[in-house]
């Protein structure tokens, strides 16, 4: 065999493993998509939003968002309005269809970022995708929608940005697209800033998929956004009175938050930032509540809690080992693609946590959760290639916890999708009482028609998926 035919063979083998990895991603997407189609458009967070966009023109809707306090999300509402109009009554099909497509896109883009080429790579893709869809930061991306899950949009955009930034070279159209993506995402949800973080860190590390010119343009856009938000529109950040938030072992209502932190809000903000970092690395606290610690103190440990903490901790141990071994913070000249992606994960983690300072929620940390899965993939590959044989027992323990733990969490998230499907329909059964409680009046025939159409979809057109036996409940039934 000469050199050319050998390299052709290697190329063909690499392609085979790449396609196998994508095929697995497709299978995971199809299964998750099937479970997602069991959900309907929810009453809370969705029906109210659809009513809000129903009788307002797109222009007015977007303009109104520029005078809000605490949030600046005009394109989030624009997206809901546009899809609502396009749906023309087919709300389930459009909104649920978009959710399924979003999830498939995210999974596909994550596999692309992993660049699987070998047998080992292909073997690690199931673990990495389990770390993606089994995470408690991923669960709200699929259990909720408003009725488009804007946090999922941002997570996808961040992975798109990483794929572009680590491309072979920049092109004018990819540069233009990434600037537009940043502007669109920042005006959708504040976490859109992370797109700039991904591109800037990648550039700093030597990746040239996004040009210097594009990065300057992105920086200018971002500075304009911050200046406009702070100085012109005076939007500010959500106040302590905005919403309840987890703290310690419980949830504090806005009045409690004001009573405890009005004089020194920075303590609460620092808690939120630290909690957000910790929740991605250790699955504890969740939503700011130290559930595992509390369960330990009362001696009543739930399997769901302990598995999540152990599996996340194992992933973090792997990442810290990788960072230490590769000397990520020092070895500038010889950094590999794997090193760069792990550094991007740490950068996204920190910035994601910092911009979550006003309140902590699992879903806000979803971009960091997504990059964790990719980082775990690369760190696991390095361990299995270089260390596994020398440290066999440690490897067996570490990978048993990792693979079994994350697989368990995947099963739990699917179980909870079934439970959510039933819960959403229960909301529709008593939607009129919900409207009363929220003091919402259906003002015209269109509003009544919308309620009737969505209720018909939930109760009649799309029956509740079969509910798992209650015997499984004690393993998975924790509502995060």
């Amino acid at each position: 065999m000469n050199v050319d035919s050998a390299s052709i063979d290697l190329g063909a083998a690499a392609r085979r493993w790449t396609w196998l990895a994508y095929a697995y991603g497709l299978l995971v997407s199809a299964v998750l998509g099937y479970f997602l189609l069991g959900l309907v458009i929810q009453v809370s967070d969705s029906f109210g939003n659809l009513l809000a966009v129903q009788s307002v023109s797109l222009e007015d809707l977007v303009r109104d968002q520029f005078s809000q306090r605490g949030y600046l999300r005009p394109l989030l509402w624009a997206q809901v309005k546009i899809v609502y109009e396009l749906a023309a009554g087919q709300y389930y099909l459009w909104f649920r269809g978009i959710h399924v497509i979003q999830v498939a896109l995210l999974i596909g883009l994550c596999v692309r970022l992993m660049r699987p080429r070998t047998r080992l790579d292909a073997a690690l893709v199931p673990l990495a995708l389990a770390a993606l869809i089994g995470s408690h930061t991923f669960a709200p991306l699929v259990r909720e929608a408003f009725p488009i899950n804007s946090f999922l949009t941002i997570a996808i955009a961040c992975v798109v940005a990483a794929n572009v930034a680590f491309g072979q070279r920049s092109r004018w159209y990819s540069d233009a697209a990434i600037v537009v993506l940043l502007v669109g995402c920042v005006l959708t949800v504040e976490s859109g800033i992370l797109i700039w973080v991904v591109c800037a860190v990648a550039y700093f590390l030597g990746a040239r998929g996004v040009s210097r010119r594009a990065l300057v343009a992105m920086t200018a856009c971002l500075m304009t956004y911050v200046a406009a938000r702070m100085l012109v529109l005076d939007v500010g950040a959500p106040s302590l009175a905005e919403r309840a938030s987890g703290f310690g072992f419980g949830i504090l209502e806005p009045s409690d938050l004001i009573a405890r932190f009005q004089e020194r809000p920075w303590v609460f903000y620092a808690y939120n930032v630290a909690s957000s970092i910790s929740t991605v690395l250790f699955s504890e606290p969740k939503g700011g509540v130290w559930r595992f610690v509390w369960e330990l103190t009362v001696g009543n440990i739930h399997p769901w809690t302990v598995v999540s903490v152990l599996s996340s901790t194992a992933a973090s141990v792997l990442l810290l080992w990788f960072a230490r071994r590769q000397r990520l913070w020092m070895r500038r000249a010889t950094r590999t693609y794997e090193d760069q992606l792990v550094i991007v994960f740490f950068a996204v983690l920190v910035v994601n946590a910092v911009i979550s300072f006003p309140y902590t929620k699992n879903v806000i940390m979803s971009p960091a959760g997504v990059f964790l899965s990719v980082a775990v993939y690369h760190a696991a590959r390095a361990w299995l290639q270089d260390v596994a044989r020398q440290r066999l027992v440690v490897s067996i323990v570490l990978f048993t916890v990792l693979t079994c733990g994350w697989a368990f969490r995947v099963a739990g998230n699917h179980y909870n999708l079934r439970w959510t499907a039933a819960e959403q329909r229960a909301e529709w059964v008593t939607v009129d009482q919900w409207l009363e409680r929220q003091r919402i009046t259906l003002r015209d025939d269109r509003a009544h028609a919308l309620r009737d159409a969505l209720r018909r979809d939930a109760v009649w057109n799309h029956a509740t998926p079969f509910q798992p036996s209650s015997a499984w409940g004690r393993w998975f039934d924790i509502d995060w």
Binding site: Y24, L27, V28, A30, V31, Y34, F35, R119, L120, A122, A123, L124, V125, P126, L127, L129, A130, A380, L384, A388, F399, T403, C404, W406, A407, F408, V410, A411, H414, W419, A422, E423, R425, A426, E427, W428, V429, T430, D432, Q433, A458, V459, W460, A463, T464, P465, F466, Q467, P468, S469, S470, A471, W472
Partner: protein
Amino acid sequence: MTVSYALVALPPLAITVVLAGIAGAELAGAHPLTMGAPRSVSEAIAMRDEGAAARFVEDGASVTAIGLIRRGILSEQAVLATPAETAVLVDAPPALEFLASRGVVLSPNLACLAMDIGARAVRSRLGDLSSCRAGDAIREVLARP
């Protein structure tokens, strides 16, 4: 080495295959690992499927009739209960709210049942009664032939 790679992939792969099997079986009309669709208003409420309960009621089913809840759903034995009793047994205030909106009278006996089984959420809706004799209400439900 190939074996160790396969072992790394196996747990998440196995879960995905099981979930794919469940999806495929459901599309083919089966219902593995579940009790299948509920068969009465009471059973729908017991399975926390208020959507199905509403469908039964809007299709003409009685909101007060005693219904069979198959074994394995509420307990190891089959249970005969009215929809309102079932809502108490699974501590589901939304189901109770739905039944009340459909004209079901929330009798004092339901409050006694809630106290018997420690259904906290519905107790806050129904209130406590001092006239309840502990255990009578739950015994009455379980004693049905």
